[in-house]
């Protein structure tokens, strides 16, 4: 098991909605990154003072109506929106990304893949921005391989929004190779203006160990916030 610097005092919340699926995997990734995962329940507008929040993948409420549409109205999301406005780092993965868009924390929307099928593949990505709270450990332009698994993965937004995102360097990840879902500008992930909130369709929590994923490229997203918290809480204690 990869031993990594742990920061016992860094606590990262992982939300569970009815229908969340990759919440256990996000919690595992948080633990691997050296932080303590804290379970956040959809019905409580309470974040228990966590240092950062992960909105995990899955099919919250079955993705009925629209992916993320019903989850976006849950009490916990209101709390997340408020915390984000105070600068708390928030990571939305897949369904989590869809929820953050539906909740208005991130611009644009995610719609049915252009190919109309669910797509599960090991996806090559380029890290376009290494300045966000979650991507600071990557070097700009780095290429990583992370699983993508989604039905509503095609990022769309108004032309003005896209210009803004491109102009402000808020496109965090882009698909490489043939487009998996027809996303505008090959967008796989974007950030909020302050770079604290990041949403991405691929699943970094499934790329933390080559045994169970295509790579360990995803772990650095989680390490980034643990490190940042470490700077706040003082030096990291290195334990297995």
């Amino acid at each position: 098991m990869s031993s990594s610097p742990t920061n016992a005092s860094c606590r990262i919340g992982v939300i569970t909605f009815p229908g969340s699926l990759d919440d256990v995997d996000a919690a595992r990734a948080v633990r691997r990154a050296g932080a303590e995962p804290v379970v956040l329940w959809h019905a409580d507008a309470e974040l228990h003072g966590v240092d950062a929040v992960v909105v995990p993948g899955g099919f919250s409420y079955g993705d009925y109506l629209r992916a993320g549409a019903i989850a976006a109205h849950q009490p916990v999301v209101r709390a997340v929106v408020a915390a984000a406005r105070r600068g708390t780092p928030v990571l939305g993965i897949c369904n989590g990304f869809q929820i953050l868009c539906e909740a208005g924390l991130l611009p644009g929307a995610l719609v049915r893949n252009a190919g109309l099928h669910f797509v599960c593949r090991d996806q090559r990505l380029r890290v376009e921005s290494a300045t966000t709270a979650w991507t600071s450990r990557y070097s700009p332009g780095a290429e990583i391989v992370v699983p993508l698994k989604s039905m509503e993965g095609r990022y769309v937004a108004a032309a003005s929004t896209l210009t803004e995102l491109e102009g402000e360097g808020r496109i965090v990840l882009r698909y490489l190779g043939s487009s998996p879902n027809g996303a505008m500008h090959d967008i796989a992930g974007i950030a909020s203006a302050d770079g604290r909130v990041v949403g991405l369709m691929p699943h970094p929590e499934h790329a933390i160990d080559p045994l169970t994923g295509p790579s360990a490229d995803g772990l650095d997203l989680f390490r980034a916030v643990v490190e940042a918290a470490g700077e706040r809480y003082g030096p990291l204690s290195s334990t297995a």
């Binding site: 009815p18 229908g19 699926l21 990759d22 256990v24 995997d25 595992r28 899955g58 099919f59 409420y61 079955g62 993705d63 009925y64 893949n113 190919g115 109309l116 099928h117 669910f118 797509v119 599960c120 593949r121 699983p147 698994k149 039905m151 699943h203 929590e205 499934h206 045994l211 169970t212 994923g213």
Partner: protein, 755 residues
């Protein structure tokens, strides 16, 4: 029936005259509508196994005490359970949802997954993975373009939404499945040995709680209609005519995977809190089945009040409520003192739950509606003492002609050019091409424990992060072999599934099956069935692993033409450290390539004879289960000592197919010289069983050869892995991996659209 003179529609419900007479004799009176409906659905082929029972007993008779050692539950329970070490138990089962998937491919396949997952939950386990074994008509047939994409999307839509990784299966095409597609879904679950739950209603006064979806008019009578003789007549009458089939089916069940996902989490919380005495899933025959089975597996007495059942539709009759196949429902037996806590857990998960009755003294299942008794029956007579048929069994006269038409006379490629062209044609054939178009629609990563999935020979998931213990599964069946010789064909299916598990480094432990056949009223079909059961049971006895459960699907035929006999075999294995798993792809450049096992001139039922000559005849390849076992031991040792860098079993398409897949999956080229002794065609395409392709670093070769010698497994050096993206087969030709990949991956997208 208000008017006691009026004749009852028992025939329309699929009951034969003598069955109806027996019901009256059991009750000592004319049955009520509700009772008639209950008996008819529970005595249908699908629920009562009336035609297969006498044959299935053979599984029990051939299971020795030694084979039972690890078995905690077996045939007769919702699903088999085996102990896999460290206090872990694993449960797995395959079930068919064939006809519904023909009528409405998306919903039929989706609810097929939902049903098998509830079976696994009913054992007290957490479902951890699914696999799907699929068969369709000719790949190019228009109706296949309707059924395949729909069924695949349904399995994806339901399984992905449940958060269960899909780790394996099959896709097979054959004209005999046109109008009779086979959708067999497998689910694996894991639990602590101590958490095993069995379905029984004990303890007078204990409450019966129905929880999950509301009950509506879904698939009413579906089960009996699907499997009753009355249906075969109809499907015979107008074969592929959907409209007619639909009229026969009152309605199609629609799945609600979100509700099922919540139901899973809710059940596990209930199990964990110790709030469940007994549990039963609601599948075919709905409440009629769940209540009668719970009661007869317990003390026998039960009272149920249908007024308490939450309904979705207005004006449902007692019979409809009892036989409704509304999905995503479970039934639990709960101590009176625990009911409030039980309800609290359900509320937390927003799951509808209601007390609908209680375990009662006496031996009768009494069901009331609006104060009136609508059913009063001895539950065992409904659930277990259904009719037992000894259907006529006769080896068809055509069997000899079939076996006499051997593949020897078929024109074989001889020149290198012709061989090279044949390799490319076979790789691109619907039977052998990449399944990625299908499997890329399935989430194989969710739960974070998937160590192997498609395109590897077996699926493997970790069940314990602390110890790295894991399990592996594979399903297989070559129905052409079974047509040529159902006994040997079924043993070949067992051998391949066993081998697929073994090449992953896991040790095979247990077997499940899904026996898909034509009409049991056809003595020839019953002969195939009997032979298949005996072949599988005898084979398992020889391998020393038990059949822990299974499923029978009859009436898969159009007119009097049955599908190829298709006994799908699933094998479960355990590996104590998943980090030692063996992958299907070739290892690194410089590694040596070896072929284990013996190659013979065997082409009966082969993919080559089928694809190139449309020929089916002769005899299937020879089976040597002792050899399979020896191979398994070699591979287990190789995995334990980390000797090999890759292993791929040889099956359909022979060595050529295995080499191409190993190169493409591993992303490495190879240089190969075919073993001396026979012509290259046989070396490339023969489908002799008991063979494995290995890649290993040269340092390991000596040890592996020792292992092979010790276990009496022949081993021949084929060549080596090299960096160049090229597969060179000496005296045959050179293939660019890009060329091979284009051929292998291009076929299904071309047929079913680019996704």
């Amino acid at each position: 029936m208000r008017n006691p003179e009026q004749p009852q529609p028992y025939r329309e419900l699929g009951l034969a005259d003598d069955e109806y007479a027996r019901i009256q004799q059991i009750l000592g009176r004319r049955p009520t509508d509700a009772e008639l409906a209950m008996y008819s659905v529970m005595w249908s082929e699908h629920c009562s196994y009336k035609s297969s029972k006498v044959h299935l007993r053979y599984f029990g008779e051939t299971t020795t005490e030694a084979m039972r050692r690890r078995m905690l539950a077996g045939i007769g329970d919702n699903a088999g359970v085996v102990e896999v070490g460290d206090g872990w138990a694993v449960t797995f089962k395959i079930e068919s949802h064939n006809h519904p998937s023909y009528v409405e491919p998306y919903q039929g396949a989706a609810t097929g997954v939902g049903g098998i997952v509830r079976d696994i939950m009913a054992m007290g386990a957490r479902p951890i993975a699914v696999a799907d074994s699929l068969r369709f008509g000719q790949a190019t047939a228009p109706d296949t373009a309707r059924v395949l994409p729909g069924a695949v999307a349904g399995i994806a839509g339901y399984g992905n939404c449940l958060g269960l990784p899909n780790i394996g299966g099959e896709v097979v095409f054959d004209p005999s499945y046109a109008g009779n597609p086979l959708v067999n879904a497998l689910c694996v679950g894991a639990m602590r040995v101590s958490d095993l739950h069995l379905a029984h209603a004990t303890g007078t006064g204990n409450k019966i709680v129905l929880f999950g979806s509301r009950t509506g008019r879904d698939g009413i009578g579906g089960v009996s209609v699907l499997a009753s003789d009355s249906f075969s007549v109809h499907s015979g009458a107008h074969g592929g005519d959907h409209a007619a089939t639909r009229r026969k089916l009152p309605s199609v069940q629609v799945g609600d995977p979100f509700t099922e996902k919540v139901l899973i989490e809710c059940c596990l919380e209930l199990f964990g809190a110790g709030l469940v005495v007994g549990i039963q899933d609601l599948g075919g025959a709905g409440l009629a089945c769940a209540t009668s089975e719970l009661a007869s597996a317990g003390d026998g007495g039960m009272r149920v009040d249908l007024d308490a059942v939450p309904l979705r539709a207005a004006g449902m009759t007692p019979a409809e409520i009892l036989c409704s196949e509304s999905q995503e429902r479970m039934c639990a037996v709960v101590r009176p003192g625990d009911v409030d806590r039980f309800m609290a857990v359900c509320t937390r998960w927003d799951v509808t739950a209601t007390v609908i009755g209680e375990v009662a003294g006496g031996e009768r299942l009494v069901i009331t509606r609006q104060g009136e008794t609508v059913a009063d029956v001895p539950p065992r007579t409904v659930a277990h003492e259904g009719p037992v048929y000894h259907r006529p069994v006769r080896r068809p006269s055509t069997q000899d002609t079939l076996q006499a038409s051997t593949p020897e006379r078929l024109q074989r490629p001889t020149t290198p050019e012709a061989l090279r062209a044949t390799v490319l044609r076979m790789v691109a054939s619907p039977g052998l091409c990449s399944r990625a178009w299908v499997t890329d629609q399935y989430d194989r990563y969710v739960r974070g424990g998937t160590v192997l999935a498609q395109p590897h020979d077996a699926g493997m998931v970790r069940i314990d992060e602390a110890t790295q213990r894991g399990i592996a599964v594979a399903t297989d069946c070559n129905a052409r072999y079974c047509a040529l010789d159902p006994y040997l064909g079924t043993q070949l299916a067992l051998a391949e599934a066993y081998r697929n598990v073994a090449v992953s480094g896991a040790t095979p432990l247990a077997v499940t099956n899904c026996l898909n056949f034509g009409s049991p009223t056809d003595p020839g079909v019953m002969w195939q069935f009997e032979q298949a059961v005996r072949g599988l049971a005898d084979g398992c006895a020889q391998l020393g692993i038990p059949v822990t459960g299974g499923n029978v699907s009859f009436y898969n035929q159009t007119g009097d033409v049955a599908i190829l006999p298709t006994p799908v075999v699933g094998v479960l294995g355990v590996i104590d450290d998943v980090r030692r798993r063996i992958r299907t792809g070739l290892g690194g450049a410089g590694d040596e390539l070896w072929l284990l096992g013996e190659t013979r001139d065997e082409f009966g039922g082969s993919e080559w004879a089928h694809e190139v000559h449309g020929h089916l005849g002769g005899r299937p390849p020879a089976v040597d289960l002792a050899r399979e076992q020896a191979l398994g031991e070699v591979l287990a040792a190789a995995s334990r000592d980390g000797l090999v860098s890759g292993a791929h079993d040889l099956s359909d398409g022979g060595l050529a197919q295995a080499l191409v897949e190993a190169c493409l999956v591993g992303g490495a080229g190879a240089r190969v010289r075919l073993p001396a002794g026979f012509d290259p065609f046989v070396g490339l395409f023969a489908e002799s069983s008991g063979r494995v392709l290995l890649s290993m670093p040269s340092e390991a070769v000596h040890r592996v050869r020792e292992l092979c010698t010790d276990h009496g497994v022949p081993a021949a050096r084929l060549g080596e892995v090299h960096a160049a993206p090229v597969l060179e087969i000496v005296d045959v030709g050179v293939f660019d991996l890009d060329e091979l990949r284009a051929a292998w991956e291009g076929t299904l997208p071309a047929l079913f659209g680019n996704s």
